[in-house]
């Protein structure tokens, strides 16, 4: 059967997402539905989308791994009738579907491909649909990503979503948290002379020292937090909890607009949120969950790269 001949049609969302039953392993239904509101959830992050077009399709778990596409299977009467790449499927069907502020692919992404369909939200790993009390529809994945539509004002220089100055500030916060926590809770000791794998952080630590947030403990040959650094951490934790308390239920677009009105950089808010909640504590795992390829195994290099900040900016982008 050709892609164009598939019975891909609008269906009631409860039926489309199999929300009328629990964990149906044989469910292979597909179609589309428009919803007023949906939540996209990953282990440390949740975002609300209003006015969303949900496209429910099924990935072939045992399909060929592709870096930038996902193989799909389509059934009719429990018989496989077609297999197609998501990009080809969307190229045909997306223009035929009604407009919505957001487009969400409800589709597993077993090989964590990075799709190249602009403006479409998609998950990494298993994608599942839940109906929470209050008829709240929640889609879970290891991570949710979206392809950036065009470059915007967030771009500070070609290929970068952040200025060097802001990067230094946030990387400093990252280090301070590592110094703040106990080792068994994710803390780290930074020696006076950093090993090569941490070398990108040398300049950040020097700046923190100039700002009197850290002090080199010469006896123990390590960087220690100062009282000023601890107090600073307290203020940023308060900032994060205030953000979460105020915006946890809000749609990203509204949040970004409100932050801009208050002259707060949305990227700072996004970073501080994830920083507080532990989302970035293991940056290698973070990349793996999102399907970032290739994975930068040296987390300090990734923290100081443009790629990490571009990933965060992509979540804010295009709303």
């Amino acid at each position: 059967m050709k892609i164009a001949d598939l019975p891909f049609r609008e269906r009631p969302v409860i039926e489309l997402l199999a929300l009328d039953r629990d964990d149906d392993p044989d469910y292979a239904g597909y179609g589309w539905a428009k919803v007023e509101r949906v939540w996209l959830e990953s282990p440390h992050w949740r975002r609300r989308l209003d006015d969303a077009l949900l496209i429910a399709i099924h990935a072939a778990d045992d399909g060929a791994p592709q870096d930038r596409d996902v193989e799909l299977d389509f059934e009719v009467d429990h018989q496989l009738v077609a297999s197609a790449d998501a990009s080809a499927f969307l190229a045909h069907w997306l223009p035929k579907l009604p407009a919505a502020k957001h487009v969400v692919l409800v589709m597993c992404n077993p090989h964590r491909a990075q799709l190249a369909v602009p403006g479409v939200h998609y998950g990494a790993g298993d994608v599942r649909a839940w109906l929470d009390p209050g008829d709240r529809i929640r889609l879970t994945a290891d991570a949710w990503r979206m392809v950036r539509r065009v470059s915007t004002e967030l771009e500070k220089r070609p290929g970068a979503a952040i200025s060097d100055e802001d990067k230094m500030t946030y990387a400093g916060l990252y280090i301070l948290k590592k110094l703040d926590l106990k080792p068994e809770e994710g803390g780290l000791t930074f020696p006076g002379v950093l090993p090569s794998e941490l070398s990108p952080l040398d300049e950040v630590l020097q700046q923190l020292a100039v700002d009197e947030m850290v002090l080199l403990n010469t006896k123990k040959n390590r960087w220690d937090l100062t009282k000023k650094g601890i107090a600073y951490l307290g203020r940023v934790i308060d900032e994060a909890t205030d953000l979460i308390d105020e915006f946890d239920e809000d749609e990203m677009e509204d949040v970004v607009e409100e932050l801009k009105r208050r002259r707060i950089d949305p990227l700072r808010a996004r970073f501080v949120w994830g920083w507080y909640d532990g989302e970035f504590d293991d940056l290698v795992h973070w990349q793996e969950q999102r399907g970032v390829k290739p994975v930068e195994r040296m987390w300090a290099f990734y923290l100081m790269s443009d790629e990490f900040w571009n990933e965060l900016a992509d979540e804010i982008e295009g709303e």
Binding site: D23, P25, A59, L80, R128, A129, D180, K182, Q289
Partner: protein
């Protein structure tokens, strides 16, 4: 409430005494209660892991208990296999490639239960980042309460159930993740990390997902066939 198997164990007069009976010195570094991973620093409380096995009613209950103990983001899958009517091996692993099979690099621990000379015992060994941990041999010789996973072996009609191994399915992993999120949200004091500023960091605090949530179907299918691409 006592389960049938717990009652059976009690009727059999089996009292359970947990304690080192062989092998390891308590000062052995490999016996430390806590261990951390090399890259994530996620700790595992081995005392609780050993207790979870003792109390588990079955593999699914064991999965639930283990993932409430584990404080990292990953879900611990289990593979349970009865090697014969005396030996059982439980492997905890991170199913990183979603294959449903245990790869050596995915192993976290194995628990080996066996009967020797009429005495039952089990021991836990760490793997990978947790290599080096090895529990004492825990004797299963008397009748404190224990779950069906252990107590069933004392039944006169005992037949090994997992000669065909049980492995955590992909659908279970999602379900466990959801249940664990609710558990963590309900126990914030355990999953918050203290800052020297007197505040606490968040961590693993999840968002939605309650035991009253419905659905959970996944949007992928597995067929193990050769496909013909549609145009």
């Amino acid at each position: 409430m006592l389960t049938k198997t717990k009652l059976l164990a009690a009727v059999l007069g089996v009292s359970l005494a947990i304690g080192p009976v062989a092998g390891c010195s308590s000062e052995d570094k490999g016996n430390e209660r806590w261990a951390t991973t090399a890259n994530t620093n996620v700790k595992i409380d081995w005392d609780k892991v050993n207790e979870a096995y003792k109390q588990a009613e079955g593999p699914e209950d064991l999965e639930k208990r283990l993932n409430e103990i584990y404080e990292g983001d990953e879900v611990i899958s289990v593979h349970v296999q009865d090697l014969d009517d005396k030996s059982q091996v439980v492997t905890g692993f991170f199913d990183k490639d979603s294959s449903g099979t245990v790869e050596e690099s995915e192993k976290i621990f194995t628990i080996r239960r066996e009967v020797k000379d009429g005495n039952a015992q089990y021991q836990t060994m760490g793997h990978g980042y947790y290599a080096g941990y090895h529990s004492p041999f825990f004797s299963i010789a008397s009748g404190m309460l224990m779950g069906a996973m252990l107590s069933s072996m004392f039944s006169p009609t005992y037949v090994p159930v997992y000669t065909r191994p049980y492995t955590t399915s992909q659908s279970r992993i999602s379900s466990i993740h959801n249940t664990r999120s609710s558990y963590r949200a309900a126990n914030p004091e355990r999953f918050q990390r203290r800052s020297q500023s007197g505040r606490a960091y968040g961590g693993g605090k999840s968002t939605g997902g309650t035991s009253r949530s419905r659905g959970g179907s996944r949007f992928g299918v597995r067929r193990d066939i050769t496909r013909v691409r549609a145009a």
